[in-house]
């Protein structure tokens, strides 16, 4: 390979301006791909983080109650007019065993049983509808780090204490230490002390969630000893659906992953990713065409030299190698320059941009894009290099 490399490098050096132009072209392409990929990856990670900051990865509930249809004898046509049943609040049967089983399930990082249901919050004349959420605080904070979102007071839910959202506190004019009356209907009510106020950043949750301990919630909702939902986090968030269906098979319960709950979001993210990939692909194709056309011109320019090299005993295969190496060198150098420019753009974005979110740069992205650009260079060189290799030495030498 020595002679191939020597010839390739000398040819590139001799056509300095041509080489520099195509390297700049490749660099621009790679920079766009690196920046765009980093931007979209960062953006998506940010969106997913925000979404999952207030949500479990998997929610496990009792399956919906359905009407039982009496089986009919063979050959009897049955007409059925069905009204779907109202879903009452029910406890997950044997939720303690389910919880323990899920604790040991591979890929699951946290399991938190919750009892939740509707109620009214009253203060004086003001009434707000709220969602009571009875939690086991140690388990729950592993799923949603509520302690980080407390803006006043403390995260304390036991023995007559409650933590409410900032919007609810504003609506009812409450601050830490105030008393709040919770009314769950059917005459079940209780008065709790606001121990803390949280702000998750999602208005709906900040206006409706009232965190209590499980015991208080159970008695308010008249579900002694119950858990209505089990929240789960998993190690690999994009594998949540598989874990969910495994849990459903294992327990017979309804298990829904965040990807199913946020189908529209997932759709948006997918189409965003697809369009990024398409843009990258088109940029890569135009870079490849650029490399190919520059090498084509070079092959034509060097026709006579190729002829004389062939006369001096260079083989077709070696001639092929000379131009493939040139393509590879274009790709490698162009992508190194482009990688630096791309990282520079990301830095500028992080430093001087909107500061809405931070873009991390994955070193694998840089290594991968250089590798891909080098291979693209070699592949795009294939056609011109093949032409150089096939050249008839007699005609090549006569070429003026």
């Amino acid at each position: 390979m020595w002679i191939e490399w020597t010839l390739a490098i000398r040819f590139l050096r001799e056509g300095r301006i041509q080489s520099a132009l195509i390297v700049v072209g490749i660099a621009v392409g790679v920079a766009v791909i690196v920046f765009l990929t980093a931007l979209i990856t960062g953006l998506q990670a940010n969106i997913i983080n925000r979404t999952l900051g207030t949500q479990a990865h998997i929610k496990v509930e009792m399956p919906d109650e359905v009407n039982r249809v009496v089986a009919t004898a063979e050959g009897v046509v049955q007409l059925l007019l069905e009204t779907r049943r109202a879903q009452r609040l029910r406890s997950i049967s044997n939720w303690q065993q389910v919880r323990d089983a899920l604790d040991g399930l591979a890929g699951v990082t946290a399991v938190s049983p919750i009892v939740s249901g509707p109620a009214f919050a009253r203060r004086g004349e003001a009434v707000e509808s709220v969602a009571l959420v009875g939690i086991d605080i140690d388990r729950y904070t592993k799923i949603i780090p509520l302690q980080e979102d407390i803006i006043a007071g403390r995260l304390r839910v036991g023995s007559g204490n409650a933590v409410i959202g900032s919007q609810l506190a504003r609506d009812l004019g409450m601050s830490v230490g105030d008393k709040l009356r919770l009314d769950a209907g059917d005459g079940r009510d209780s008065v709790v002390t606001v121990a803390g106020i949280f702000e998750l950043g999602v208005r709906e949750l900040d206006a409706r969630y009232v965190y209590l301990d499980m015991k208080q919630t159970q008695s308010l909702l008249n579900l002694p000893g119950a858990a209505t939902v089990i929240d789960i986090t998993v190690r690999n968030i994009f594998g949540a659906s598989e874990v969910a269906s495994r849990i459903a098979r294992l327990t017979g319960l309804k298990a829904e992953s965040w990807m199913q709950t946020n189908e529209q979001l997932m759709n948006a993210l997918d189409s965003q990713r697809l369009s990024t990939q398409l843009i990258s692909l088109f940029v890569a194709v135009s870079v490849a065409l650029g490399i190919a056309s520059v090498l084509f011109v070079s092959v034509i320019q060097r026709t006579r030299e190729i002829g004389i090299l062939r006369a001096m005993g260079i083989t077709r295969r070696q001639m092929l190698g000379v131009f493939l190496v040139q393509g590879g060198i274009f790709g490698l150098i162009g992508s190194l320059v482009g990688g630096v420019v791309g990282v520079g753009l990301v830095w500028v974005f992080n430093e001087f941009g909107s500061n809405l979110f931070y873009i991390p740069v994955n070193p694998i992205l840089l290594v991968g894009s250089s590798l891909l650009a080098t291979i693209t260079g070699i592949i795009s060189a294939a056609i011109p290099a093949g032409r150089a290799a096939r050249m008839d030495p007699v005609q090549a030498i006569r070429h003026v």
């Binding site: 000398r10 090299l309 001096m312 005993g313 083989t315």
Partner: protein, 224 residues
């Protein structure tokens, strides 16, 4: 060569036979000129002998080996080791210095040149009077100087046969004589056969042997 024929556009309506069955032998130490009017087939014959092209019929032996059925890789290898070319337009590789151009056939065959190779190439440059210009790029040399470098390059692989296609066609008469003298010396000193294609009667008459082609046939040449 035995019954060597060459046609162009084989199998098409405009098929033409350029060489009509040539028989000829070139000895190991011959110094021969190949002359003929333009269109007589000189260059075609030279390309065949140089293994740059394939005969349509007949056989060409190089160093006693039949070459017709060789594949491209073997022909290329044999061409590199047994034949040195000098063309009318010198054809140096412009990206390389004079010395590197001389080394090129060795670098193609063996890769990175050894010190012995470099000494050999410098010796050949001295032989053609170009040792002072070894590190110049070829576009910094005059036509005559480039042709001298090309001769040194043709000799570096110690070929058995030196083929020259109008080597002086592009030079003034003074340089022509110098270049011709170089071919003479190569023939005597390195013992390689020389076949010169030329239009210049002064040059051809100075050769030991003159092969005349007329319309694709050898005329008036006593087979050696």
């Amino acid at each position: 060569m035995q019954g060597l024929r060459k046609s162009y556009n084989v199998g098409q309506a405009n098929e033409v036979e350029v060489l009509h069955g040539l028989d000829m032998t070139l000895g190991r130490s011959d110094f021969a000129a190949l002359v003929g009017a333009s269109g007589s087939g000189k260059s075609t014959l030279l390309n065949l002998i140089g293994l740059l092209d394939m005969p349509t019929a007949g056989e060409l032996f190089l160093l006693g080996e039949p070459t017709r059925d060789m594949d491209d890789a073997r022909r290329t290898a044999l061409r590199g080791s047994a034949i040195g070319f000098v063309f009318q337009f010198h054809h140096l590789i412009s990206a390389f210095s004079a010395l590197e151009n001389v080394l090129m056939p060795l670098m193609i065959a063996k890769g990175k040149p050894s010190d012995a190779d470099i000494d050999l190439a410098r010796g050949l440059l001295a032989e053609v009077g170009m040792d002072a210009f070894a590190d110049r790029k070829s576009d910094q040399l005059s036509g005559g100087q480039q042709q001298r470098v090309a001769i040194a390059r043709a000799l570096v692989a110690r070929p058995a046969l030196l083929l020259a296609d109008e080597p002086t066609g592009n030079l003034d008469s003074h340089s022509s004589e110098d270049v011709f003298a170089l071919f003479r010396r190569s023939n005597e000193k390195f013992g390689c056969a020389v076949l010169l294609v030329t239009h210049d009667e002064r040059l051809s008459s100075a050769c030991d042997r003159v092969i005349t082609l007329e319309d694709g046939r050898i005329v008036g040449n006593p087979p050696a």
